[in-house]
Symmetry: C2
Subunit: 618 residues, 2 copies
């Protein structure tokens, strides 16, 4: 395994209670089995966090990691991730963000920084040149993500800036007030614009009294490929694939021109755009929150991430009026979660709510689903109107977000997440969640790969575990009918394994719209000097998936947790291609049986010892 | 009376049949009695157009006029107007536009150009240096207003440009396809951004086969004040008043910062914002079409008019997507007419419909009211759904606008205006009009000055005849309660007279938010050398008002035409400050009695000979 500069593959074990850091070199065996990023993080959480540990206890750990390809010349390799035992789901979670923090972490000499125990006072950490140091964060505690980021960038900004060759500048990976207040849907924000959103990683960071990680990368630590020729060939091939893809092609592909929210109109037409807490599957104002309309009205810039020619990011701005803001976004998921799902059909309104989520440090997806639950609960009279919130009412929604982030009034209940709030209000079916985590922007009644995809996702409802719409909408890697059930289990398992490996590299998932499995294996081999076949690459993914499942299992998870929210199973869509269609529990259970069998698991969804041994997990 | 350059006060009588122009100097007696602009135009229409004349017959005339203050250094003096017998109402109409066309006409040496008879082939006219010439318009006929304007500016653009001292550049005052097709709600557009909108003046221009008037003004013809000292003092006072007004103050006042659409939120809160064909009086999406939101999202520039520091104009743009456009607007009236009135709660949608209206040359106010009639007629089943149109559906509304402008399918019926269409469909109450002209953006149930204001307006429903909200909202010239009926007749009569005089000057009506009657009289006196008292100024307004009324009377108008649409009289608002209140016909008729009495008219609303003699009309 090649070293990146002097400190490559270094892990920093940060003891927050005793303000000590132990450095350790990553074991090559572990690296080849789990790569880095998600895989490494899950392995460390599995090794260190005993079953039954409260996610907010000092005994939980928060792993901030990158992978063997992060920060290299691999196109789209600018990812950072956080892995921990989730305070939202109770299982293991990993959550990734783009930008430059990933590259910076690698260039500062680290593959992972592991937060252990808990500080008595607010601190922030600085990672630079193979060292992690502690700093007093009392001036930052309570500050929003924009201010926090600005203050830290200003303080360390005399370092060489991003645009100067040989440095990643000052990168900030921090929490907002929501994380400090242990909101179970709090995220970690990188430069207040890219987010490790899901699973409540921000709340775990908050529980450890860590406000931020400041990362400064330097040229001397840039990873150099073990096999430069092989790597360069693989890199060129990957770049060619990006350029040729109708999705990612720079300046031409939908993702490049309109950002992720290019999907709004397509998914809405497919009748798979959950609207007003998924009571509908099509939103009458979808166009107005779409990437096309966003580009025409409030788009100001299209920033990008480390080594990425796609530029799918958006910077939008409303320069005046009640919803004045400037922020990255509005991403597809957020156009939906803080748009259609809460009945907001104005891009300036959804943009403003997105800004507030970023300001307080809340995962926009989970937040939107939680707000939708609150809206329906208000409609149904479970919450008094004066305290409640209303579909489509941007002002009330904005107020409710603040209440959640600061745990004010009824916000204190919803800060526990929509599932726990609905449970407390006595009607858990108001919560459109799997494993207590809100669904993302695809309704499995219209895009049916996600029926089994959502239900079996180890981190709770998720589109990024196995992105079946790639097949159903774009025909990648092969075309399937969005409304078909047949073949979706195989597709899901293949994608779940592939994405688990990909998250361990750790590079952007959008690469999968262009790269082949061969590309990933070749890039990894070129960089590390290992000879990783496509089959081994996929096996790594299967290993990570099964380890996650096993960790959850040790924490009490089984078949009962692989459930879709009732609405998606029993309520037929009222419009769109799937109008009138009802999944039903029987069909759902048959799909689950098929999935368990193909995974080699027991009928109640447990990973047998045989499987764990086969994959070298135990 | 002072001459502006060599040709001041010149009238050009353009015989379109024989392609001859007669020039005449304006009689000083007529000028002192009617000033110019609206007053002069009405006088000429009264003199030349016999009762019973079909507005589309060659015997109708179209007067394009400016007034004694237009194009001078008087702040806000950039107005041009068209006066004719309206094909929409059948009475006399005048309609004003801002920009530079007014100044240009004055600087080209004219106070009025009068189009007589009808050309056999499409022509356009060029006014320059005291001469009007005819040009072949066959290349322009059928072209939209943007293209027409661009082609003509390109052709004559080698003349000195606007920004060069001593020239007004090339100003275009033209009609679009709607005017050519005799749509009764067609307007005349100045530079495709400012419009003589109301009353169908564009259709009269189209009936005469005149596509455009190209105007080039020159320094040597700039009007010089007869009494420079008096004029300069009056000008400074007026400018001071503009600067001190919280409405007009440059860069500070609401009109300057947010444009006319600053009114959206205020009027909506007052429950006076007719929504979905006035079925409601408040629009749930008002904020999103307001000036505040417009400024924050799609505003690109704030252009202005000749000699105006207020800059209330907006240039907005949607740069991509389905509703891509660039156009002036969206003015308050249009935010409403192509927004709330048709159920469109997205500024990019309303902006796009505004652009289409400007493209085809349709009055946005009348068009919106006509579309709202079509939407309700579709809802009620009077129009088959496939041919009809739907509240809030931007795509269908856009399609319907095209059908109207090009008289395609059902558009042929609605090109006659909403009133005639509703009449043909058998339910005239679907048309929210007075004298067949659509109401503007104020619901008289919430702003009650307009009860009598709309009903008695000589040109049909209109907010610009006597702007009572100035008193009800801004306290100008004194504060009245929006919901009070008492005192509104006196206020209306005073404002109707004042605005008639003001339209004859011809300067911008927004000046009345800052200027006093004394200011107008002083500016007029300083410019002309006459000694016009405030009383004489107001008397001129009363004269113009009565002459209009008398012209209409000769064409069959009386009390029966001073009617509000039924909905506004009998249906109580469902929300807002006036919720549940019903005007009723009795109260309405009492107000009308009071108005007639105070006007010195008969009980059936006729102007008696005595009044005509008293005002020197006959």
């Amino acid at each position: 395994m090649v070293k990146a500069g002097g400190y490559a593959n270094r892990l920093a074990w940060v003891d927050l209670a005793n303000k000590k850091v132990d450095y350790q070199e990553l074991d090559e065996d572990v690296a080849r089995k789990y790569l880095g990023g998600r895989g490494l993080g899950v392995k460390l959480v599995y090794d260190k966090v005993k079953p039954g540990t409260d996610p907010f206890s000092p005994d939980n750990i928060l792993v901030i990691a990158v992978g063997p390809l992060t920060g290299t010349l691999t196109p789209m390799s600018g990812r950072i991730c956080s892995i921990t035992k989730s305070p939202l789901t109770g299982g293991v979670t990993d959550s990734h963000a783009g930008g430059w923090a990933g590259a910076a972490l690698k260039w500062s000499g680290f593959d992972a920084i592991i937060l252990q125990n808990k500080s008595d006072k607010p601190v922030y950490l600085v990672a630079k040149d193979g060292k992690v140091t502690f700093e007093d964060a009392s001036q930052l505690w309570g500050k929003d993500l924009f201010t926090t980021t600005r203050m830290l960038r200003d303080k360390y900004g005399d370092a060489r800036e991003l645009t100067k060759l040989g440095s990643t500048g000052v990168q900030v990976y921090a929490i907002g007030p929501a994380g400090e207040n242990l909101c179970r849907e709090a995220c970690i924000g990188h430069d207040a614009g890219r987010f490790s959103g899901r699973g409540g990683t921000g709340a775990v960071m908050g529980s450890k009294k860590v406000k931020a990680l400041v990362i400064m990368g330097e040229e001397k630590n840039i990873p150099k490929p073990a096999n430069p020729e092989k790597f360069e060939e693989a890199r060129r091939t990957a770049l060619k694939h990006i350029t040729e893809s109708p999705v990612t092609s720079p300046g031409k592909g939908g993702l490049s021109v309109y950002g992720t929210s290019v999907l709004v109109n397509t998914v809405n037409e497919l009748g798979a755009f959950p609207t007003r807490n998924a009571k509908q599957v099509q939103f009458e104002f979808a166009y107005f929150i779409s990437g096309e309309n966003q580009r025409g009205t409030i788009l100001r810039e299209t920033p990008t991430c480390h080594a990425c020619p796609v530029h799918c990011k958006r910077l939008t701005e409303v320069t005046d009026g009640k919803y004045k803001y400037k922020s990255e976004g509005v991403e597809y998921e957020t156009c939906w979660s803080l748009g259609a799902m809460v009945g907001v059909g104005h891009i300036e309104g959804a943009g403003y709510l997105n800004y507030l989520a970023n300001y307080y440090g809340l995962d926009t997806i989970s937040l939107g689903v939680t707000l939708a639950t609150a809206c329906e609960a208000t409609e149904k009279g479970y919450i008094p109107e004066a305290e409640g919130v209303k579909f489509g009412d941007v002002d009330k929604l904005a107020e409710f977000i603040k209440k959640i982030a600061l745990r004010e009034g009824i916000g204190n209940l919803f800060a526990e997440g929509g599932y726990r709030a609905a449970q407390a209000l006595g009607d858990v079916d108001l919560s459109i969640t799997v494993k207590k985590q809100g669904i993302p922007a695809y309704d499995p009644r219209g895009l049916r790969g996600f029926i089994i995809g959502y239900a079996t996702s180890n981190r709770g409802a998720c589109h990024l575990r196995g992105y079946t719409p790639a097949s159903e909408i774009m025909g990648i890697p092969y075309k399937t009918d969005p409304l078909a059930l047949e073949g979706k289990v195989d597709l899901t398992i293949m994608l779940q394994n592939m994405f688990a490996a990909l998250d361990s590299l750790d590079i952007c998932k959008f690469s999968s719209f262009a790269y082949t499995v061969e590309d990933y294996a070749a890039l990894l081999s070129g960089m590390t000097g290992w000879d990783v076949s496509p089959e081994e690459f996929m096996k790594i993914g299967e290993r990570v998936w099964n380890l996650e499942r096993y960790f959850n299992q040790l924490n009490g998870f089984d078949r009962k947790d692989d459930m879709l929210p009732k609405r998606l199973v029993v309520e037929p869509p009222t419009s769109g291609p799937a109008k009138g269609w009802r999944l039903g529990w029987d069909t759902f259970n048959k799909l689950l049986d098929e999935y368990y069998e193909k995974r080699g698991w027991t009928k109640d969804g447990k990973v047998p010892e045989k499987k764990l041994r086969e994959l070298g997990i135990i």
